[in-house]
Assembly symmetry: none
Homo-oligomer: 221 residues x 4
DNA sequence: GATGAATGAGGTTTCATTCAT
DNA sequence: GATGAATGAAACCTCATTCAT
């Protein structure tokens, strides 16, 4: 699948410093204001380029947004990739994943905020499909493969559907990400646990979530 | 806690038919277009009232949105309430919950879409707090209490933190709701499972999710 | 000249308490917000009557405003009337006038604010004429008559035009009123004198203004 | 004191013809309709620019108004400046001032109308202060200095307070300006003098006002 | 490649006034 | 006499996008 481009050729020709600056400024604007309230003219000004040039780089506001989003997702993906392709057993992987997500969420909360933003996007079925495809396919296949392998080797219960369990696993990890980064979910975390996620005992969260996942995967009557 | 009102007194004085119509039309508009792209004038026109009267009922667009949101949440809450206060054991409750959520999500997908919308809201910490408080506090306390009771009676593993496990449980259920209703999550479901959620075998989804939850809660080495 | 009515008959039939309350509330609203930003619906609510009844009393917002304005002007007029018809010499009168204006302005600043408001009114020549006629004719004729009498008795210089001098005198007194009550003029007073008019030495202001007027009227080469 | 800007940088970059047209059209609209009833869209259309561009030039309606106001005030200020800094004696200056004001008021009545408008402005103390400061400080200091110098040279009575007398002088001149330009004050002039100011004998008005001022300043018992 | 002036549709919100009861 | 629900025109302001230079 040759990944669809959401930027124009001119953007690739720009030097890296400029490219990075545009994306960083864009991510900051989109993640703090949300898609609708973000302002392209402001992004251009802050990135030190003219609005005209911005439109030489990106055809629409939406394209810029998706490019910013993808940039953030790529960085997280890279952090997770090495873990996922390792030969560790599933639960070892899970623990590493959770720990990485915790750290990453704190450092790169803006990326997660953009992901949260896109997940409530309204639009044509076609567009949504393309975006979801791009963002979720890699991770989902890794999850599913890992679980499949664990199934073969008898490391997990035999009556689980690897695809659904992968989805459940992802739901838990995504919720955790949001709790660390997005206002609504952070507040929700506070209501459930009584403490702010930033002052919470990370180790306990990790331990408990691992227990939850471990049991879910390995229980057998 | 006397719930904060997000509508003006005049709205209460309107007859029920009109009140319901406004809320239904509003929910339809907000859930299909999203908060920013929803148009108050359109809502008023479709509800058969003047825009001036709309502002006699709601001080701002935001207030109308929150009132619509609350309306939808109340309906789901009612459906869940009877289950949660019953004397059933935790896992029986869980199954009933999941089944109710599946049915409700299909029938009232717009309510869930609005909930999805609010969960990516950007705004003052204070406002977010008030909304989250209102929407999540009831359900969270029911979850936590149920788990606590199960803990006391030895129905679940003794080393779980009831508040965190309640949050994990909620994450799974919320994700399921979104999968049934919101474009992004539905597409994500398709990528993970290979089928559209509307054509999927509900019974299998329910069974698998129950297994996941049951094991998570009851495993003991 | 049978004074034009700016209210409907029904207003006269209302009991005095209600009439006064409406006028007081109206004066408060108009003087604090200005004509355009004042809100008739708010005035009605604060006065404890329905907006429908308000329109039984006054045909338009403007009529209510003029009635409020006239009410305030009448009160000042009464305070000045006794002074003006007395047999005192012109300069004695002037001093009494100034002192009365100082006191009145502090107590009834809202009335003066409304007067300030009307004096920048835009409208049909006819309407302006009617309002000015009503507000200014009484006072102007008293001023002119007094000066005319002083002229006859040789108390003031013989080469003054009584009508123009009356206007100049009025200009000074009006400016003083505004300095005591209207934001812009109060600030202007501070810029000229270096002190806030409310903390200024009233006696010095009065003395100096009297000197100014006295000399203007009595000098003869 | 670096004068606060009430326009954006883009306005400065526009060519002079456009800048002048915008200000002229704005002054016409504001002075004829008053601040609240003036319509920015109308101003933009008449000035031949889009409303969007107008907002590139001025952040708010208020900023446009103040810029228009300042433009008019500057022009009057320039006309008066040469007179005020001359070496003429105070009363010579006064006569020149009065004559200039008469002429200017007839030619640029719109500027005065805007000044009349601002002088009944309601708003935050801070905003009023800034505007008054800007408009009145230059002229007031010139008045006060001139009177102070006249005091030193014995040209005026020794018992006058230069700051208060400057304010009184300004009150008279301002009233004269208003009489020539603003509907209410023009009508008031007619009531006091019996003639319309535009058909009045200017020379007599000037002579009488000069007498009034001259005596006020120079009388000594 | 780069600029930024220019556009204008569109949305939220206000409030004087009417009228059925 | 009294109510207050209902109207709807109209105004300020935003911002994605274009295009001449």
């Amino acid at each position: 699948m040759p990944e669809k481009k959401y930027h124009k050729d001119a953007f690739e020709r720009a030097d890296d410093e400029r490219k990075n600056l545009i994306l960083e400024v864009g991510i900051e604007e989109f993640s703090s204001k949300g898609y609708e309230n973000a302002n392209i003219n402001v992004i251009a000004k802050r990135a030190g380029i003219s609005i005209g040039l911005m439109y030489k780089y990106f055809a629409t506001k939406e394209d810029l947004f998706i490019t910013c989003l993808r940039h953030g997702m790529d960085i997280l993906e890279k952090a997770l990739y090495d873990i996922m392709i390792s030969d560790d057993k599933l639960l070892i992987k899970a623990e590493k994943l959770i720990r990485t997500i915790c750290m990453h969420s704190k450092k790169n909360s803006n990326y997660i905020k953009m992901y949260n933003e896109i997940s409530s996007e309204k639009g044509s079925a076609e567009r949504i499909r393309a975006i979801v495809e791009e963002i979720e396919s890699k991770r989902s296949s890794i999850y599913i493969t890992s679980i499949g392998r664990a199934l073969s080797s008898g490391d997990v219960r035999s009556d689980l559907n690897p695809r659904l369990f992968a989805l459940f696993l992802d739901s838990l990890l995504t919720s955790l990400q949001f709790a660390y980064t997005c206002d609504y979910y952070r507040e929700k975390f506070r209501i459930y646990t009584g403490v702010d996620v930033n002052e919470a005992d990370d180790e306990q969260i990790i331990t408990q979530l691992l227990k939850f996942i471990e049991s879910a995967f390995t229980f057998s009557k």
